[in-house]
């Protein structure tokens, strides 16, 4: 007998811990319970929520229902020969790694945290350090089952409207129940990593442009507080899965072990303003100096390479009660001038950001609201209580739209609705499909209200 669907009235925020709203949290355990929850979610609608890693208000629904999908967490089947997994939407990438790595398979795409669900990965159409090679997550999805507004389940295949609207659709087309995902074969669970320093932004961009295609995974941590000639100095870490013969003999006995380390969680109360300009500059200076000028073939654990922050549970608390904003944008190749201008504006303003990364994207992805497009993407965290930050980010939006770029919805918590149409040209098609599938807006989130999606 399945247990009753559990419900509770709860205040939720995104990972950035800004703009809390209250909703009825429903935790379905089966597809049927999910369908019932959607049918009964009431006039303020419902939205699926995974592990709450979207930074802004994408998985919140004030006054309505929020479907906590983590109860749907079964891996339905694994084809260990072809490298395909069929699983519920609430399965986390962490769980997939635990199960699949010993079989010699890895998730096709992982973001900076493995604590995201498969449903969330498709809904936000996440990308990782391998975007320039592999594209976004949904490009590796062979099919998915989507619970749509009328309570029925549709199987969406790549190329169909429902698939392309759902990939990156922020949960607004329906609730993803399960997906079939193609995997990437690996010989070991270690990464072979090359590290190098770039002395400024131009050096960084030329290094990335010249040699990115040699690596499956590539990203650069960038010091946005460095000024003057050092503006945009960075540490590049690029690599690939280590082949078996790259491992020392001892490690070859258990090449596929997955043992991510975990430190104690960040305390619940952090003083506000701990991450000011001084402390973050100091951190950035040390982080930059600590990195070797150039080092090749270093073996790193997957968790160190992909998910360093997952080692500290609740790291988002370090920004204190006020929370933080993550700003991620992309501008196309040929718009390097805009990127330079934005980086120098951020550095001149002294935004205390210690988690800033720059990456080159490959081809764009088919999702109508998918974020990636060929170009440069920069992501940074900023404490939300910084005076004048709202207006400053609005100015950056203008730079980004002026260059034909866009801002990532999964990280957004402050965009203006007017800015959206220019950023996402397929928005009218998305709205039309939503109007057709879901005329009464059963699927509604704070994000969709704020941006009139």
């Amino acid at each position: 007998m399945p247990a009753e669907t559990t419900t509770s009235v709860t205040s939720v925020t995104g990972w950035g811990r800004t703009a809390p709203t209250t909703s009825l949290l429903v935790r379905p355990r089966t597809y049927e319970e999910a369908a019932t929850a959607v049918r009964e979610c009431g006039e303020r609608g419902g939205i699926a929520r995974g592990l709450g890693r979207a930074y802004g208000d994408a998985a919140q629904n004030a006054g309505g229902a929020v479907l906590d999908m983590t109860g749907l967490d079964r891996i339905r089947g694994i084809d260990a020969v072809a490298g395909v997994v069929v699983c519920d939407a609430g399965v986390s990438l962490h769980r997939l790694m635990e199960v699949l790595l010993p079989l010699g398979w890895f998730v096709p795409v992982t973001p900076g945290t493995r604590y995201v669900t498969v449903g969330g990965a498709i809904g936000a159409d996440i990308h990782g350090k391998n975007h320039h090679v592999s594209g976004s997550f949904s490009r590796h999805v062979q099919s998915m089952d989507v619970l749509i507004a009328d309570g029925t389940v549709q199987t969406a295949l790549p190329g169909s409207d429902l698939f392309d609207a759902t990939a990156g659709g922020m949960g607004l087309t329906g609730v993803i129940l399960s997906a079939t995902v193609e995997l990437h074969p690996v010989e070991t669970s270690l990464m072979s990593v090359d590290t190098e320093r770039a002395t400024d932004l131009d050096d960084l961009m030329s290094r990335l442009t010249a040699t990115d295609d040699r690596y499956r995974y590539s990203v650069a941590w960038i010091d946005l507080l460095a000024r003057g000639a050092a503006t945009g100095r960075a540490v590049l870490t690029r690599g690939d899965h280590a082949p078996l013969d790259a491992l020392p003999v001892r490690a070859r006995r258990e090449p596929l072990a997955f043992r991510p380390g975990r430190l104690p969680a960040a305390p619940a109360f952090f003083p506000e303003g701990l991450l000011g300009r001084t402390s973050v500059s100091l951190f950035n200076e040390l982080w930059y100096r600590r990195a070797p000028k150039s080092r090749t073939g270093e073996l790193q654990k997957m968790s160190t390479f992909f998910h360093p922050l997952d080692g500290v549970p609740h790291w988002n608390r370090v920004y204190g009660r006020g929370g933080f904003v993550q700003y991620q944008f992309v501008v196309g190749y040929g718009q390097e001038e805009t990127l330079r201008r934005i980086v120098s504006r951020i550095s001149r303003r002294g935004c205390p950001s210690f988690l800033a990364v720059l990456k080159r994207f490959g081809e764009g992805d088919p999702g109508w609201l998918s974020f990636p497009m060929p170009g440069w993407t920069l992501a940074l965290d900023i404490p939300a209580n910084l005076t004048g930050l709202g207006a400053f980010l609005d100015e950056l939006d203008e730079e980004v739209t002026g260059a034909g770029g866009r801002v990532y919805l999964a990280k957004d918590s402050r965009l203006r609705p007017e800015s959206l149409a220019g950023m996402y040209p397929k928005l009218p098609a998305f709205r039309a499909l939503r109007a057709e599938l879901d005329p009464t807006s059963v699927f509604t989130s704070d994000l969709s209200r704020r941006l009139s999606l």
Partner: protein, 251 residues
């Protein structure tokens, strides 16, 4: 919806001609606010305020609202909330009265109390319920330092604000966890048409400064905002001054 900085997209002002409220509305419209409802007694001043905000690019509606007519609040405000979510309600109506006249004419004193307190109680409760249904929103209540401790010079106004202040604090606690945020704003002497002709008190401020403090308070999700901020310290000291001494203070 409010953004990460607590800036609302839709604003309902109760007391649509209040200078502090309009300064706040101007400030918020410059940021994110697109829809503004100005509730107040129909008057040319109310329409004038609407025109001014429209010129800043907002979609402005006026709605007839009389603080003294508590029985009509449900209908008048229900109409506004039926049109869509309200991210922020600014409860800004209030009258100063004329202390010396009010002391001799109890009915006009009662009018001050009814406007500032009972009117706010009914409007506040109605808005709180609607915001609670939405699961989000801020109710910003304009209180006053005058409510912190009754003074000889304006205790009728002060007592009405004291009632309002206590009501709003309690309401904030009642709504804790519902997604609704109640913020009590306690300005000192504000230079405005309400205080025109009065002798200025120390630490006087302006409607624009109050508006800025409200914007910051929204961002921080503050529960109490003093304007200027130093008043928090000053008033916490004044509150403990013994009565015989307090009576003699020239404040």
């Amino acid at each position: 919806m409010k953004d990460a900085f607590g800036t609302p997209q839709s604003l309902l002002v109760l007391g649509g001609t209040s200078e502090i409220a309009l300064a706040t509305a101007r400030r918020l419209v410059a940021r994110r606010t697109r829809t503004v409802w100005l509730a107040g007694r129909p008057s040319p001043a109310l329409e004038e305020a609407a025109v001014q905000l429209r010129s800043l690019g907002a979609d402005v509606h006026t709605v007839a609202f009389d603080a003294l007519d508590s029985a009509s609040h449900e209908v008048a405000l229900g109409k506004v909330f039926a049109e869509g979510d309200i991210d922020m309600v600014l409860l800004a109506f209030g009258i100063l009265g004329d202390q010396s006249r009010d002391e001799s004419e109890p009915l006009s004193a009662v009018r001050v109390a009814q406007t500032n307190y009972t009117g706010a109680v009914s409007a506040g409760l109605i808005c709180a319920k609607a915001l609670q249904g939405q699961g989000h929103g801020s109710l910003v209540v304009l209180s006053s330092v005058a409510g912190e401790r009754a003074r000889r010079a304006n205790f009728i106004y002060g007592s009405s604000k004291a009632g309002l202040d206590a009501f709003a604090q309690g309401l904030g606690d009642a709504l804790h966890g519902t997604g609704v945020h109640v913020m009590v704003v306690r300005p000192g002497f504000v230079r405005s048409k309400m205080t025109a002709g009065l002798e200025e008190a120390p630490m006087a401020t302006t409607p624009e400064a109050v508006a800025a403090a409200i914007e910051t308070g929204l961002r921080r999700r503050s529960e109490t905002v003093w304007v200027p901020g130093a008043l928090r310290v000053v008033m916490s000291a004044l509150r403990h001054v013994p009565r015989p001494l307090f009576r003699r203070l020239p404040v």
